[in-house]
């Protein structure tokens, strides 16, 4: 496989093709599916137990804490809405890591792409103020996606053409994006009435993204869910997704079979960045109403974790975002009812994610989940 010469090509294709065929097979079987449910659920239980011990040492009753977390995150429609509000931006940001991960690229520039998307949306929203609300929102969403998309595509291009490590470049691009944001809201885009918190001019109230009727959850959640479903379909059920996975599996083999590696890499990065950029647009249109330093609130970094825990699968991302949303939504009650410190929720988040990531190494280790040999 090392020699990418012409005569090696037919040899390389054959094992690859069987790999790809066998890839899907176990997932259809109940044992594989049971494994995919039991292992993360077990990890969650272990995490809860460890966190319970932590709480006991911190002077709180673990069972009371569990009860409160359930109540604050999933206990009622009211609290579930809190969970969903937390989950909405994280979903879109997580796709920014999850999509390139299938290509074999680790992109952690979500925060920067979100900020750029927010800036793009603000520019569009403050420039075309006289558009009818629907058109204004479309303009903002497109601008946000283009800005965020190009931002991550730049990381993809640097990797593709110059071999720059995308982990480092995308991480550093976060700082550049935040610096650009600060420069613009302190200078060219600054609303002179925003004295002590430099901000851009606000987008008109009429063009803001509202809440889903009957709830206090903004429409960003729907954007997130739809994006996850679309990305899942694209990655798992289309030729394009198949090509992405081949590149992620073996880039040399992909080149040998003649896949347009460059085009697919750049387009997948564009798509990834567009998701985070859309998250930025939602933050501007539904939450902040303008661009300022509050855009960089850490959703991008949460997204990295969610993408890994969700195993780079868009549906996994959807579920894990809601789980994370629930954890974040319970942060307040831990402080107010159990008088635990404000960092407790981060401890809980850390324990849950470490447990789930560790459980990744357990796949295939339990005999009961193994497929029986076919006769």
């Amino acid at each position: 496989m090392n020699a990418a010469s012409n005569e090696a090509a037919p040899v390389a294709v054959a094992p690859l093709a069987t790999d790809l065929v066998s890839e899907r097979k176990p997932q259809r079987h109940w044992r594989g599916m049971a494994e995919a449910v039991v292992i993360p659920a077990g990890a969650l239980l272990v995490a809860m137990a460890v966190f319970g011990i932590f709480c006991a040492f911190a002077g709180a009753n673990p069972f009371g804490v569990y009860g409160s977390i359930r109540k604050a995150a999933f206990g009622s429609w009211y609290s579930f809405q809190n969970t969903l509000v937390h989950a909405a931006p994280v979903m879109l940001c997580a796709l920014c890591t999850a999509i390139p991960l299938r290509l074999g690229m680790v992109i952690i520039g979500n925060e920067g792409a979100l900020v750029m998307g927010g800036l793009g949306a603000t520019i569009a929203g403050t420039h075309w103020t006289s558009l009818p609300p629907t058109m204004a929102l479309i303009a903002m969403a497109v601008a946000g996606m283009v800005f965020g998309g190009l931002w991550i595509m730049a990381c993809g291009a640097m990797k593709l053409y110059r071999g720059v490590n995308e982990v480092i470049s995308s991480l550093l691009m976060n700082y550049i994006a935040i610096a650009v944001l600060n420069h613009l809201v302190n200078g060219p885009m600054r609303d002179p009435t925003s004295l002590n918190k430099p901000s851009s001019y606000p987008i008109p109230d009429a063009n803001a993204l509202g809440t889903i009727p009957g709830t206090f959850v903004h429409w960003g959640l729907v954007y997130g869910v739809v994006a996850c479903l679309l990305v899942w379909f694209l990655m798992e059920r289309t030729t394009y997704g198949f090509q992405v996975r081949i590149i992620g599996g073996n880039i040399r083999a992909a080149r040998i079979v003649g896949l347009p590696v460059g085009l697919i890499t750049l387009s997948a990065c564009l798509l990834a960045g567009a998701c985070a950029g859309l998250a930025g647009m939602v933050e501007v249109a539904a939450v902040q109403g303008r661009a300022n330093e509050s855009l960089a609130a850490g959703y991008g970094y949460a997204g990295i974790l969610v993408a890994f825990v969700g195993r780079a699968n868009a549906l996994g991302v959807l579920l894990v975002s809601i789980l994370l949303g629930g954890i974040l939504a319970s942060g307040g009650i831990l402080q107010r009812q159990h008088h635990l410190s404000d960092a407790t929720v981060l401890v809980f988040q850390g324990i849950v994610f470490v447990a789930i990531l560790y459980s990744d190494s357990l796949y295939g280790r339990f005999k009961i989940f193994q497929e029986r040999a076919q006769a």
């Binding site: 109540k71 206990g75 939450v287 509050s294 609130a297 107010r336 410190s341 404000d342």
Partner: protein, 378 residues
């Protein structure tokens, strides 16, 4: 379920307090009957030795009043998270008075919630309320802490041997510039040739940059440091470790620098929060117009204070600082009295003009006074 519970406990509370009130009135003691339920929200941890700790101390202070019940939540970012916290405090804990303390909570988060909960009163730290533009149940408060900075400047200048002071600041915004300028004017009122080197780090909480800035200032021979960032902890401990002096900000940091801590500019939010609690227990409200929408004050009103002097402060410095403090207390001190030039040589306050603390033009300050080495940037 929890709503039902809150409702039930509310009814029980009402019954209990009505009974209590009846008993008290019967005994001829007029006391506030219903507990005032307050919610405090901070953007960072409660023990940051800085902005958030100052507010948490205010909350702890007001909680000493037996008829106040306070809920707190720390490390709440300026996103939908703070809206959620406010909503939870109102819906789940029955809080009727909210103090979301971070500057960035105001617009859009407090404004949004204030419209949804017209019966709840929102008090915001920062003085942003505009009559007619913002909901009636929103009020704001802020202190002229630059008065305490002026006094700190006097102590710093008289303690410095190199006559060079260092100021590490987050952003060149009016509030911060005003502190730097008042500090410098205080320093130069007693030692006219003293200079203040300023470094802007760019954000409210950047511990690594703050440490680098502190070290580089000390390397240049500056021997008194101060700062305006969310948590002065890094600057103060770095100064102490390097054996130079410092003055604090937000809260009292003397435990972090027992040797070099000269004095500091502290908030005294207990005073402000107790005043609000008093008004509310008397049945006053923002909506009825019986609580003012904007309250401000300085040393005289007790909104801020000067930390007790450290061991390195000379008697002369103490005497000069006390003299300035006395002038603030009797209301005769005017910090911005012309002629004042900025550090580019332009006259910013003409001769014969004295800008009082309440002067609105001071709130859009965009210049650094003569004697400050540094630029406001953009």
């Amino acid at each position: 379920m929890h709503r039902l519970k809150t409702l039930r406990s509310k009814i029980m509370n009402k019954l209990y307090f009505t009974a209590l009130a009846a008993a008290l009135v019967g005994a001829g003691v007029a006391q506030a009957a219903d507990a005032v339920k307050m919610g405090f929200i901070y953007v960072g941890p409660k023990d940051d030795y800085g902005y958030n700790q100052a507010h948490a101390e205010g909350c702890a202070g007001v909680q000493k009043l037996a008829w106040v019940k306070a809920e707190e939540e720390a490390s709440v970012p300026e996103t939908t998270a703070v809206e959620e916290t406010m909503r939870n405090m109102i819906m789940q804990d029955g809080v009727t008075v909210l103090f979301p303390t971070s500057f960035g909570y105001f617009d859009p988060h407090i404004l949004k919630l204030a419209k949804q909960f017209p019966d709840v009163q929102f008090f915001h730290c920062g003085g942003l309320y505009v009559e007619g533009k913002h909901p009636k149940n929103v009020g704001s408060y802020f202190g002229y802490i630059d008065e305490a900075e002026y006094v700190c400047g006097i102590v710093a200048a008289e303690s410095s041997k190199s006559k060079r002071l260092g100021f590490i600041a987050a952003k060149p915004i009016p509030q911060v510039l005003r502190n730097i300028n008042s500090y410098t004017l205080g320093a130069r009122s007693v030692v006219p040739d003293v200079t203040v080197q300023v470094i802007f780090t760019g954000d409210w909480s950047l511990p690594v940059k703050e440490a680098e800035a502190a070290n580089s200032l000390i390397d240049q021979g500056i021997d008194v440091l101060t700062c305006h960032v969310d948590s002065p902890k890094v600057v103060i401990t770095t100064a102490e470790k390097r054996g130079v002096m410092c003055t604090g900000y937000h809260a009292n940091q003397s435990v972090l620098a027992p040797k070099g801590y000269l004095t500091g500019a502290e908030w005294n939010w207990t005073k402000v929060y107790s005043q609000y609690a008093q008004w509310i227990s008397e049945g006053k409200s923002l909506t009825a117009g019986t609580i003012p929408h904007l309250i401000r004050g300085g040393l005289k009103e007790g909104f801020c204070a000067v930390s007790p002097y450290g061991p390195m402060v000379s008697d002369k410095a103490k005497a000069d600082a006390e003299a300035a403090k006395a002038k603030f207390m009797d209301g005769t001190m005017v910090i911005y009295k012309g002629e004042i030039k900025d550090n580019q040589g332009n006259v910013v306050v003409p001769a014969g003009t004295g800008l009082k603390q309440q002067d609105i033009s001071l709130e859009s300050m965009s210049w650094l006074v003569e004697g400050v080495i540094g630029k406001t940037g953009g």
